[in-house]
Amino acid sequence: MVAQRMLAPVEIPAERRPGGRNGSPPPGEGGGGWGQEGAPSAATARLGVWVFLAAVSMLFIAFTVSYAARRAAPDWTPVALPPLLWANSGLLLASSVVLEGARRHWRCGDAGGTRAWLGLTVLLGAAFLLGQVAAWRELVAEGVFLASGPHSAFFYLLTAVHGVHLLGGLGGLGYALRRLARARPAEGTTGLMFAAGPGKATGTLDATRIREATVGEATGAAGADPGALLGNVAVYWHFLTALWLYVFFILWS
């Protein structure tokens, strides 16, 4: 679903020549570009997230290759990883689940609920990071330092680099939270103003329109749509959850 939404606007319309065989565009208009103006649309922002994640993936692929190569060396001595990491993984997984909960509340038009669930996500993410630090301290207490061996070196390196990325994700969540707090109920109604573009926000709870806004099909910019922002942050956050499980797996195995 996510991938489809990301890809759809990227697709090049089939017609390649003005008035060509695959449908006739309006006179004076060829096919091709989207002619988007103004701030990045939700789809553009989403594409940006995926492109960024491609770069992050390459970073971790490079670490993985190094890990595999280094593991073959004779001085490889596995370190017993602290069991606390299992609990940390649970926290991060839970944060992803809760984040989806926050998005469901947003889709239902419940801003207060969204904020609460999003706040819980931030707490769980922060708890994960604290847990990682605690895991480091446990290892240090056992006398396992960065330079103790290749396995410990990779453990500290990978958890640290992942942690830095997660810190960025927390920043994104915090930003989304702040933006949601600003989405005030419109005057005289109980609904929220899910600005889908100038002149479009009527202030009423129009489920269809909200849905449209959240799936990024509205013309409004991501800057005006906390729902789209939330979706983009969620893509990044879930990716980091999956990345942690991957890192945990290769460090453990």
Binding site: R70, W76, G223, N232
Partner: protein, 604 residues
């Protein structure tokens, strides 16, 4: 990450403070010019470092009292120290590759041209774009600070091979200077990543109406493919740099093997693998040379077509070959490591992929020649430099085929033959394309024309200077002269090369001096050049439909709508010898299928 500040409205830009408008600007054109000007300053610095190298190689061991007074650290009593020489070699390479060519071509031209050529008002994420540029000066400061620390700047070569780069005690330049080198590179990589992210998203999402992918000018295609390359290659170097920093500062052993001695002191490391660094480095390093040569290929394509007044020949093959080059560039890194120890079969595999990459390169070359064939060629300065690019690219490309073969490379490895090869194919060719692009787009960037007469002087002196400087280096390489050598006079087999080295050094000085013509022309025209009209070259692409220089937001209230491909030059039965991409479809039947490329045979 994904979110950018709300776009600045074209109407409010007049109210922006000086700082927001010219310094911390989010306008892609200002950012492009910032990148270009900073790169130019760095190019002068990189050039001066090259002169130091040539000074030592032309007159090894000679004393230069005046320089000794200016640089007491690097040239005590006028004699260049070994550490300073090695630092000059390392920093010349680092600066020219990362801090000049990459930043100028993708940061400068990429930023300026992409939105203008696709009909967008700005990049997709203007704030991120500003951030990208503003990571560049700190990276420069960190890099240059290394000249002033104990032990001097990094001296382990621009490839920073461990253990020289991993052990602070290994050599004078392995100390703090190397740490700063790594940090500067890491910061710059982040800047490149922000830039690439922006370029990819912008090209995919912000094309104006009618601008299908196969109507994009080849410059945009080149910058787009380059952005994908950087995005996938630079994180690998970032990972390697982080691990090397851990080795240096944290006592880990990713790249340092056991049993090393520095002097007589055993090194406290175990089990690391220096070859791992080489693999990671060249996995970036080879795509990096295509990061430097693809944008020139695109820019030269557009400039050749414009000045030959002919459609580019084989548009689709041009696009396809760029994509093929980009893909193959990830599969050839091993050819830098033939002598590092590699299974012969693996060497053969890398030889094959390396030779295969010559095929798309040759397709491009022949397409350029076919574009020129029977064209009404205008020898503008931009055209001269574009033709110079062709010459240098072919000269350097042919020696690439020689070096691709392991048995030959084992002889030539780390000699001046390699230096000559990459200075032709990557460095000079890319610089020539950058000059061509500057002469071509200067009117659009600054609203004034460069002086064409000075441009021709600049071209001929630079062209002759490049060949005089680098061509003899092939011969020095044949004779076994090692690259990065400090004291060629000590080797019997190199003593006969002394006159040749003097000649090369003199040529290098002339080449450097000739660039002052360009700098004079550039800065004089910036203020005194004749005003440029909207479309001085009679070009088809969208940037020439905007005012010169374009305002914030590039176009008035309405964005241009694209009707045809970018190479409608000399259409039959038309009033003028070009049709802009925005010209309505009133053209003779059969000429409009822009997306089909220039081959007239494939009309409907």
């Amino acid at each position: 990450m994904a979110h950018a500040l709300p776009h600045l409205d074209a109407r409010t830009v007049g109210e922006l403070s000086f700082w927001r408008r010219y310094i911390f600007s989010q306008d892609h054109k200002v950012i492009g010019i910032q990148y270009a000007l900073t790169s130019m300053a760095m190019a002068v610095l990189g050039g001066v470092l090259a002169l130091f190298i040539r000074l030592q190689l032309g007159w090894p061991g000679r004393s230069w009292p005046l320089l000794g007074r200016l640089f007491p650290g690097g040239m005590p009593e006028g004699q260049m120290s070994q550490a300073f020489y090695l630092a000059a070699v390392t920093m010349h390479g680092t600066i020219m590759i990362f801090f000049v060519l990459t930043t100028l071509l993708t940061g400068g031209f990429g930023n300026f041209l992409i939105p203008l050529m696709i009909g967008a008002r700005d990049m997709a994420f203007p704030f991120l774009n500003m951030l990208s540029y503003w990571l560049y000066p700190p990276a420069i400061v960190i890099l240059l600070a290394s000249f002033f620390v104990s032990g001097g700047a990094a001296g382990g070569g621009w490839t920073a091979y461990p253990p020289l780069s991993a052990l602070p005690q290994a050599a004078p330049g392995s100390g703090l200077g190397q740490t700063l080198w790594l940090v500067a590179l890491a910061v710059l990589i982040v800047a490149f990543l922000f830039g690439s992210l922006n370029y990819i998203t912008t090209v995919l999402q912000l094309r104006t109406r009618g601008m299908s992918m196969l109507r994009l000018p080849l410059t945009v295609w080149a910058l787009f493919v380059t952005a994908i390359l950087s995005l996938l290659a630079f994180p690998v170097l970032l990972a390697a740099a982080i691990m090397l920093l851990f080795d240096r500062l944290g006592g880990t052993s990713f790249f340092v093997p056991a049993g090393l001695l520095v002097g007589t002191t055993p090194v406290d490391h175990a089990g690391g693998d220096p070859l791992l660094w080489q693999h990671l480095f060249w996995f970036l390093g080879h795509p990096e040379v295509y990061v430097l040569i693809l944008p020139p290929m695109g820019m030269v394509s557009d400039i050749l077509a414009n000045n030959a007044r002919k459609p580019i020949f084989g548009y689709r093959f041009m696009v396809g070959s760029m994509v093929a080059i980009a893909f193959l560039s990830f599969l050839v890194w091993g050819h830098h490591m033939y002598t590092s120890g590699m299974h012969p079969l693996l060497g053969t595999a890398f030889m094959t992929t390396t030779l295969v990459i010559a095929v798309p390169s040759a397709i491009k070359t022949f397409n350029w020649l076919a574009t020129l064939w029977r064209g009404k060629i205008r020898f503008t300065s931009a055209m001269l430099f574009a033709l110079g690019f062709l010459s240098l690219f072919v000269t350097g490309g042919l020696t690439g085929i020689v070096l691709a073969q392991p048995p030959v490379d084992i002889y030539f490895h780390d000699t001046f033959f390699v230096v000559a090869h990459f200075h032709f194919v990557m460095a000079s060719a890319a610089i020539f394309a950058a000059f061509a692009g500057t002469y071509y787009w200067f009117p659009k960037m600054f609203g004034r024309m460069l002086d064409e007469r000075l441009g021709r002087w600049h071209f001929w002196l630079t062209f002759a200077g490049i060949y005089a400087t680098f061509f003899p280096m092939h011969y020095a390489g044949f004779m076994g002269m090692m690259r990065r050598i400090y004291s060629p006079q000590l080797y019997a087999h190199l003593q006969g090369l002394a006159p040749l080295n003097v000649f090369v050094s003199l040529a290098a000085f002339v080449l450097f001096a000739a660039q002052s013509i360009f700098l004079y022309n550039f800065f004089r025209s910036l203020f005194r050049g004749p005003r440029a009209e909207r479309n001085p070259w009679g070009a088809t692409t969208l940037e020439w439909t905007a005012p010169s220089p374009p305002p914030h937001g590039n176009w008035g209230p309405a964005l241009p709508v694209v009707q045809r491909w970018a190479y409608e030059y000399s259409p039959p039965n038309a009033a003028q010898d070009f049709l802009p991409q925005t010209a309505p479809a009133a053209v003779p039947v059969g000429r409009e299928p822009g997306a089909l490329g220039g081959d007239g045979e494939r009309r409907r």
